[in-house]
């Protein structure tokens, strides 16, 4: 099959099978996504982050935690030989630390998404589907969590749980789910009285089955877009916690904690604090661009 005919097959107006229709739909979505170059830049940044995190051991020339010779290799400036981003106060190669830090960043983003999304979906769909006092109770609870600014609540949780990257992840996840619950509830309200839900109910499907099998899949795409848009915020919150000394602990090469450590040498060795900041900036910019692009493609309501 030549590439041209494969394209025709995908874009066919009369798909012969369900699979062809689905693939064709996905291909059209991809085409419209591809035409948005900012979104493509975002995708490239995120893919690069994933690759760097996967192959950190191969890419990083030095150990991220053990430094070099403290007499001769401290505070080497940018673009020194063998140390493209220079070295820090413990003669550690900043490039290697950034590369290994990408793993922590990716871990935070993925774990927060994996913890917070199901909670939000569960609370939101349950609340929207059952209505009545279940709805009232769950939405009040959601409002209470929304009543705190996110970083402040995360700070309080970390204070209670103790500093560390695992606790930072838990704290951020606990503070992230309420908007997803709101969104899932709104979506559920629009579909709970539709005919196919009634049909499933008449066939004797349990509430749990309807919620999980018929309601949740329809809420998924808008919640996923929202989660992608939030990822930059998650990264910034985690970096902020690291900066305050409440997230990842030294000597872990977490980018926020690296900025905090480099702060002491800001005036003379400015690159030590500057380079990790650039890394955070690029990655959260990537997630923002990707999220914007996904929203334009997948959410017809936002398209104006």
């Amino acid at each position: 099959m030549s590439s041209l005919s494969r394209r025709d097959w995908l874009l066919s107006d009369q798909p012969a099978s369900r699979r062809q229709a689905r693939l064709g739909q996905a291909y059209r979505t991809w085409l419209s996504f591809r035409s948005n170059w900012l979104a493509m830049v975002g995708l490239a940044i995120v893919l690069a982050l994933i690759l760097v995190a996967l192959f950190a051991d191969v890419i990083a020339p030095y150990d991220p935690v053990l430094g070099g010779d403290l007499r001769t290799e401290r505070f080497l400036p940018l673009f020194s030989e063998g140390h493209i981003f220079g070295t820090d106060d413990l003669a550690r190669d900043i490039f290697s630390r950034i590369v290994h830090g990408s793993r922590l960043t990716l871990m935070v983003v993925v774990l927060v998404a994996v913890i917070a999304t199901p909670i939000g979906l569960l609370v939101g769909t349950t609340s929207g589907y059952f209505g009545g006092w279940v709805d009232t109770v769950l939405m009040r609870l959601t409002d209470i969590f929304l009543a705190f600014p996110r970083l402040i609540l995360a700070l309080a949780f970390v204070a209670a749980l103790g500093p560390g990257i695992e606790n930072a992840i838990i704290a951020i996840a606990i503070t992230s789910w309420p908007p997803y619950a709101r969104l899932a509830r709104a979506e559920t309200l629009t579909i709970r009285d539709s005919d196919y839900i009634n049909a499933a109910r008449l066939q004797g499907a349990s509430s749990a089955r309807i919620l999980w099998g018929h309601v949740t899949p329809l809420c998924l795409s808008s919640v996923v877009i929202r989660v992608t848009l939030d990822m930059a915020g998650i990264i910034l919150t985690a970096a902020g916690l690291g900066f305050l000394g409440l997230g990842a602990q030294p000597p872990q090469p977490e980018w926020g904690a690296m900025i905090a450590a480099g702060r002491r040498f800001l005036i003379d060795q400015w690159w030590v604090a500057t380079v990790p900041g650039i890394a955070i900036f690029i990655v959260s910019l990537g997630f923002n661009l990707l999220g914007d692009g996904l929203r334009d493609v997948l959410d017809p309501k936002a398209r104006k």
Partner: protein
């Protein structure tokens, strides 16, 4: 909200408003109670022993037991919560282990610094953000729009504490354009009599213009930084509200009548966009409290944010929970205020009330 109930005369209006006020009050009370439950529960799971925090770890067992009972730790959890509730409602947040003062006093002392910073920041954010949003909407899809979009994206993606450090490095350490960390130089600290706690206001009222200039030079960098982040949000929202308004039919009517374009944009459309915009500005004012935690740490700004981080790093739980609660309460308050303002400013919503 249908038209017949609205047209039903004034007889039904008063009970309706009363009903609405009661409903809002109940919601706020419930949310606040929730805030209390959350902070109470956080306070219970802390690994810090509250008794040891009061008496130190050298005290004999008898003292320990007495304080344990004094703090009510022997009672069931719901009774402890009831005690906590009573204390908080009477303004008693307990003592700080760090400063040995009442939390309420500590907060009252540091809050004006945060308020001053946030207010200057929101002024900067609004004054720049609204015209930029209007400009982007009018020139939709063109260079101006892209510039505003990129500025906004940078604001959404850059860590605020990092930009703060860079700002200090460039404008303070290298260029000497602004004063460094802190609110005021020590040399001026005693020439201002603190009355409101807002140093800009205090120094201006006392005619200490030199001190005023010094305070200004200190506040301008952190406030611009926070203001930039509000600007990113405000300009984005202004743009979308303006696009919405400019597509309305009254704009076409005005154009047909020959109303000058600037008047259509700045008077007709912006006036309608202003209603939801007030909500947005109130919300970003509330969000500044959050941004202030990191900014105050970077700029050694002696406000609520720095107080909170200091207490966090020293496991001073009473102080942490007190300031968390206060910030939550302010957040709820500003949200409520923006709702009320919305219904005051928009006749359509007002009629529905």
């Amino acid at each position: 909200m249908s038209d017949d109930t609205d047209g039903g005369g004034r007889t039904g209006a008063l009970p309706r408003i009363l009903w609405k006020v009661t409903k809002i009050a109940a919601t706020v009370a419930l949310t606040f109670l929730g805030l209390l439950v959350v902070t109470f529960l956080i306070g219970r799971v802390v690994p810090v022993d509250p008794v040891l925090a009061v008496i130190g770890d050298r005290a004999p067992k008898s003292v320990y037991d007495r304080v344990f009972i004094e703090l009510g730790l022997d009672r069931p959890l719901y009774e402890q919560f009831w005690l906590y509730l009573q204390k908080v409602l009477s303004g008693d947040f307990g003592q700080s282990f760090l400063t040995k003062r009442d939390i309420a006093d500590d907060i009252a002392r540091v809050f004006p610094a945060t308020l001053e910073l946030a207010t200057v920041a929101i002024l900067i954010g609004t004054v720049l953000g609204v015209p930029m949003g209007v400009w982007a909407a009018v020139r939709q899809g063109r260079l101006a729009d892209q510039v505003v979009r990129v500025l906004g994206l940078v604001g959404y993606s850059a860590p605020i504490f990092w930009l703060g450090l860079l700002g200090l490095l460039v404008f303070y350490a290298r260029l000497h354009w602004v004063a460094g960390p802190g609110r005021v130089d020590i040399a001026y600290e005693y020439s201002i009599t603190v009355k409101t706690g807002l140093l800009l206001l205090d120094s201006a009222m006392q005619g200490e213009w030199e001190a005023f200039g010094n305070v200004m030079s200190h506040i301008i960098l952190p406030a611009s930084l926070l203001g930039y982040f509000s600007m990113a949000y405000i300009s984005r929202m202004t743009r979308s509200f303006m696009l919405n308004e400019l597509a309305q039919e009254y704009v076409i009517t005005a154009r047909v009548k020959g109303v000058p374009e600037w008047r259509i944009i700045w008077v007709h459309a912006l006036r309608n966009a202003a209603v939801p915009l007030v909500t947005v500005i109130a919300l970003s004012y509330a969000n500044l409290l959050e941004g202030s935690v990191l900014t105050e740490t970077v700029f050694a700004w002696p406000g609520l944010g720095q107080y909170l981080t200091n207490s966090l790093q020293n496991a001073d739980m009473n102080a942490v929970l007190g300031s968390t609660l206060l910030i939550g309460a302010i957040f709820v308050g500003l949200n409520l205020m923006s709702d009320l303002l919305y219904s005051l400013l928009d006749p359509r919503v007002r009629r529905q009330a």
